[in-house]
Symmetry: C2
Subunit: 351 residues, 2 copies
């Protein structure tokens, strides 16, 4: 059972219910509990012919993109977002999906699901198009918190490793720490400390640490998991999106420019469509909240039905792999290894 917040996205509940319909036909065994105003949702769900697959939870309140997380934490009990998270809290669903306000979703998730033992700062992980065989790298944190200390970055490495293992099927992920250079003396103080911590934890965490990586390495094949604080990760994520969008606009303009190039584009249409699909941010729609007692998939606010279906597909995959329980076990056992590593570093005996 997947719990779905039907409200709060930029395109309204119709896009979300459309996404559920697409996901429902792709995953015939999965059922959905859908949260929002009952009458409106009933109509939309009936129109898609998926009433038998969906249970509706009436919730009249909506968290808007402008609501502040602190307000929502105090007064958000009647919202569809709160209700969607509570389905995971109650154990009736294993994963929740929402297109709504990220800050509010993280705030509600934090207070209703609570952090896993050993996790100080939960993180949002995203998939990044890369030259790796899977086609993706994992990057975290991309916006759960605007800062991270060295032990948080170690936790991100462990959680990202677990996600890469269960989500992308990579047995022994390679972890890199995002910095402004690959030399050991570069960067901020907390990054140098995290460099030592993550290096010391690679055996216990069953990953390989490749050291510092730079922005140019985000799509590279030399790393599977990229660890950074939520401020830097969010800027990098949105910069990558903006650049990819600019490049495809320039491509469209270039190919529309002359008669010859328009003819050429026509001949290359199939290949250009495949290229567009490869760079389509909707295909990798879905940041995952890691470090809580339950998994939450955050879809883009502007996601259309295709984007929502991708986010739900990711939720289904994580639910079916038993990811939540595996991650909890990994962080719990590795938190001790991490503690050891912190101790070692303090004693100067690491490396």
């Amino acid at each position: 059972m997947i719990s779905i917040d039907a409200m709060g996205g930029d395109r309204g509940p119709a896009a979300v219910i459309g996404g559920i319909a697409a996901a429902a036909s792709a995953h015939p065994a999965v059922r959905f509990v859908v949260h929002g105003p009952k009458d409106e949702l009933s109509r939309l769900i009936a129109a898609q012919g998926i009433a038998a697959r969906c249970e509706i939870r009436d919730a009249t309140g909506v968290v808007t993109m402008d609501d502040k997380p602190a307000q929502v934490m105090r007064n958000g009990q009647a919202t569809s977002m709160w209700s969607a998270i509570d389905s995971v809290r109650a154990g009736e669903a294993t994963v929740a999906v929402s297109c709504g306000n990220t800050g509010a979703l993280m705030a509600i998730s934090m207070i209703r699901l609570r952090r896993l033992p050993g996790v100080t700062r939960p993180a949002i992980a995203c998939l990044w198009p890369s030259r790796n065989p899977t086609g993706f790298n994992v990057m975290l944190d991309v916006g759960a918190d605007v800062k991270a200390e060295a032990p948080d970055l170690l936790t991100y490495a462990l959680m990202g490793t677990s996600y890469a293992r269960n989500g992308l099927g990579i047995d022994r992920p390679r972890v890199g720490l995002l910095n402004v250079g690959t030399e050991e003396h570069k960067g901020r103080a907390e990054l140098k400390a995290a460099h030592d911590l993550i290096g010391a934890a690679q055996e216990a965490g069953a990953f390989d640490y490749v050291g510092f990586v730079e922005g140019t390495d985000l799509p590279s094949a030399r790393v599977d998991v990229i660890v950074t604080d939520g401020f830097t990760g969010n800027v990098a994520l949105k910069t990558g999106e903006g650049t990819a969008k600019l490049a495809s606009e320039f491509l469209r303009e270039a190919l529309g420019g002359t008669l010859l190039s328009r003819l050429g584009a026509l001949l290359a249409l199939g290949s250009l469509r495949r290229l567009q699909a490869r760079l389509d941010p909707r295909r990798v729609n879905g940041g995952v909240f890691l470090g809580l007692n339950g998994t939450v998939v955050k879809s883009h606010g502007s996601a259309d039905a295709t984007g929502v279906a991708a986010a739900i597909g990711l939720a289904v995959q994580l639910a079916q792999s038993g990811f939540g329980a595996k991650l909890a076990a990994r962080v719990a056992s590795a938190a001790m290894a991490g503690q050891d590593a912190i101790q070692d570093t303090k004693n100067g005996s690491s490396k």
Copy 2:
């Protein structure tokens, strides 16, 4: 006269001298003072037929990419990089160009040229491809320092404005502050303080402040100058480069895929070449160090002759516009406005 460090780039002095030759034919009135091992440079310069345009300063030491800035500051006097900066210090050249180690170049520039009055942290500004009529935005800091306090971010806004005015010909630049969201309550504490400072300085600084911008806005037409700390800016710059490179690789693969698409690509060749030129990082090669008594252009370490020529072209433009003196005047007068703004904010009287 432009001062050029011929050593320290990944492709050696031949690429630099090749770049000088290209720039020399594009700018017939400009002369160059070139720093490096005399015998080697004489041969390369003679081979390019530009001996009459170049003066050589013998310098046998080379700063490598692995040298730490602190070491170079202590022991770098005999290097070509030091010699190139000293030509600006002595007033014989107005702008220096180097492809070498960024950290070392900034360190030497700081101690030999010293900071402008009113500047605590100098910054590196880069040009970013955008949808603006000029084709570019200015972003700073992209790596001079790994952190920036609120008053530093105000100084970056003033320096970036001056650069956009003199380098891109924008009369009243629009300034945005990079954050993880455009809402006023988001982001780190120093960003909220900088938001107030920059907002209060827009009249005195003759720019328009558009507020917070996100990574997706970097190529947008709603801003001309993007202000951020050097850690975030460096990651964003390299992420953009990496994404653009990935997109063009995917494009090449897509167009090489089938016979039809290869034929199509052939027909569209002219347009695709123009696209490539538009996204070519070498065309905008050259970060500019702002906030010192003298202007320094940092070219990419991996720049070839085309890239070096672009960096030298930028140096020539800045030298001819009298940019250095204008920037100094702007920061000196605006530093007082900035002080006023800081005072206003402390008194709670700004916005």
